[in-house]
Symmetry: C2
Subunit: 412 residues, 2 copies
């Protein structure tokens, strides 16, 4: 029998009625002849409640106990889902992480998956079981203690199961109906994509399109797991959602797949930094040690052996960055005249694997922004992405103009 993995997030299993609805979707796939592996999250809100209790009990908690506590929500939904399927006369049973076993490292609260031996579940499929329900987000360490994979880890569980069982596809049921060319709340012409390449999805995921965990997309790309993102609140259909797949599966792709934006970006500029070898290394090592996630970095050409250095980071890390840099300056490790922080910016990116073979995307992007009189503050590029920082007030305008210019409202 071909194997299908179906993952239901917290909102899709938030109540007994929703679990029943999800179970019906599982039943449709069983009827098509699949053996199904279902991965469930905790009921919406439960994990937050448990995390809250742990943090209130012990601010610097023992991550092993954190994992033992917060993994319990998934155990509840796994059992309830198995019972619901049984009520529909579908042979099903639940597995907790340690029962599979889903073997992980001992890095509690953000463990990495090491292996998922498929024998136990395959034997049960061989005995006539149709659905294996797996408590997502959790595994077991070499020491026999419960581990968790980090927030959103159920997506990662799902992809790892799909890889381990060589599943035909991994369907991620969530509360959005797919991946869009841009945020529909900002641009009404945003169009749902039928397919998107792993690399594009990765860039979009890390740019703030919160559909899938970055890590699960990386894992899917590495093991070539075809991922489908779809809503559990829409009518079932074979063409629902967006398929995240290898670029070879996407016959006619546009040069640009989507326009992403992020409000959570601040620009910091160190004015008049001494321009000598190793200065960038010491600045960004200090920021990294202070847990500042630096995104874009730009260095201007030097004049009189001084230069300006600009970087961006999440807005809530600006204070931390300022403190780290002030300390470095006080310690004489770096010399600059002034640190200017601008939290009134946003990041706009165009993403598409077609950029690898098509030139002129950057030029077109800059021209579009220029036509709207939007000043570009910082530019960075990667193989399949161009990102710019602009004033935040132009965010909607920029997204809409770029969406139009690259004709993203039209199918390829």
């Amino acid at each position: 029998m071909p194997i299908l993995v179906m993952k239901f997030g917290g909102t899709s299993v938030a109540t007994l009625d929703r679990i029943k609805r999800a179970a019906k979707r599982v039943g449709l796939e069983v009827a098509k002849g699949y053996d199904v592996i279902v991965i469930v999250s905790a009921m919406a809100g439960k994990t937050n409640e448990l995390v809250g209790w742990v943090e209130e009990t012990s601010p610097l908690f023992d991550a092993r106990e954190y994992d033992a506590v917060v993994s319990s929500g998934e155990n509840v939904t796994a059992g309830l889902m198995a019972l619901t399927l049984q009520e529909m006369d579908i042979p099903a049973r639940s597995w907790q992480g340690w029962q599979v076993p889903l073997l992980t490292t001992s890095t509690h609260s953000s463990a990495r998956i090491e292996d998922i031996p498929p024998e136990n579940i395959l034997r049960k499929f061989g005995e006539g079981m149709k659905v294996a329900v797996i408590a997502g987000f959790q595994g077991v360490s070499p020491e026999g203690r419960i581990t968790t994979l980090g927030r959103g880890g159920s997506d990662t569980s799902a992809v790892a199961f799909a890889a381990a069982f060589n599943a035909e596809r991994c369907d991620i049921y969530t509360d959005v109906d797919g991946v869009y060319t841009t945020d529909p709340r900002i641009c009404e012409k945003a169009r749902k994509l039928d397919k998107i390449a792993f690399e594009e999805m990765l860039e979009l995921a890390s740019l703030g399109a919160k559909v899938l965990q970055t890590r699960s997309v990386e894992l899917a790309m590495r093991y070539k797991v075809r991922l489908r993102v779809l809503s559990s609140f829409e009518e079932p259909s074979d063409t629902a959602g967006t398929l995240v797949c290898d670029e070879e599966e996407i016959m006619e792709s546009k040069v640009v797949a989507g326009v992403a934006h992020s409000r959570d970006e601040a620009k910091l500029t160190l004015l008049s930094v001494a321009d000598r070898p190793g200065i960038a290394a010491s600045i960004f090592t200090a920021l990294s040690d202070a847990n500042v996630n630096v995104d874009m970095i730009v260095q201007n050409i030097a004049e009189n052996e001084r230069t300006d250095m600009t970087f961006s980071c999440p807005t809530n890390q600006v204070a931390r960055a300022e403190t780290a840099l002030a300390e470095m300056k006080a310690a004489g490790k770096v010399n600059y005249s002034e640190l200017v922080a601008d939290t009134n910016v946003c990041k706009i990116s165009v993403v598409g694997i077609g950029m690898r073979s098509h030139t002129g995307v950057a030029a077109k992007m800059f021209q579009v922004l220029s036509n709207e009189n939007i000043n570009i503050k910082v530019i960075t590029t990667s193989e399949i992405k161009i990102s710019v920082l602009i004033d935040r007030k132009y965010m909607e305008l920029a997204v809409q103009a770029l969406h139009d210019a690259f004709e993203l409202d039209k199918a390829a």
Copy 2:
């Protein structure tokens, strides 16, 4: 190090504050030099919520999935208790049933404990851990699936751990401050007992003094585990609560230890039953098959080869008993003229190991009831107990009169 087992029920761990309070009690015992095994229930109300979800999902549920779901509440409190102790700088960690492992039969939802290999926990104690926190109520079957021990099973977990680790004592923290000579809500002279013998506690537990699970008392008696019942809401003290122990530890015991009562008792009488061999067997086999828990049985002497047969059972099983007997009569398997049910009765019992060596307790009990003009409807006796059924309206009067007559308000 001597080992102490401490068990905290649902009300004692109902909130983070109460968990902290319980942890402080654990800390006091650690300070005395004990290695402590703490058994925790789920937060009050949580198990009922989970059971409700399972029953709503699947009325005839798969008990294996039931166990997987309802055991999750204890996992949460075990982790939170371990974290709370760590915050107090007491080395502690949590164990779920499968991690210990607490090995049980595969009788899901009412599994029996088979073994608790102590090696893992003893090794940790040897490494400097002071408290092992155990999720109560749960174990693991030979098939590697989660089992539960039945409602109130955390008491049983606690006693089993105390036996397996040869603990000095097993302290059961609950919301009552001990075992009383009778129900204080009925008799204001009721006195808390400092000590009570296992056999007496067993009779009182099964008679409706809901302090301890009958099964945990049986287990404690078999393995001679000294049990202390005490409140987690009172100031800690070495003499708090009631010690349930071997009768040899109770130097001066009274003939009667307590007076128990039960409202949940109905009297059924089969009039004019054909008095032939095997008739009692067929009646009570039929009742047993119908899941009627028959308590007292009385058969009158026969006249004209017909006799009357009286028995008692819980009030909510009367309808089931009537149906079973009517079916038997219809099938010609038993012949009686009429079935009379009296749900307006109650059971009063006096219990005490002293009865084994002292005569006259029954006579005194009947005289006391007679003095109050209370008519006795049925009598049964065991080695350490005399029970009578009387009209329910006399319950309080009977309890108070017997409590006075046997001077239970005075210490031995």
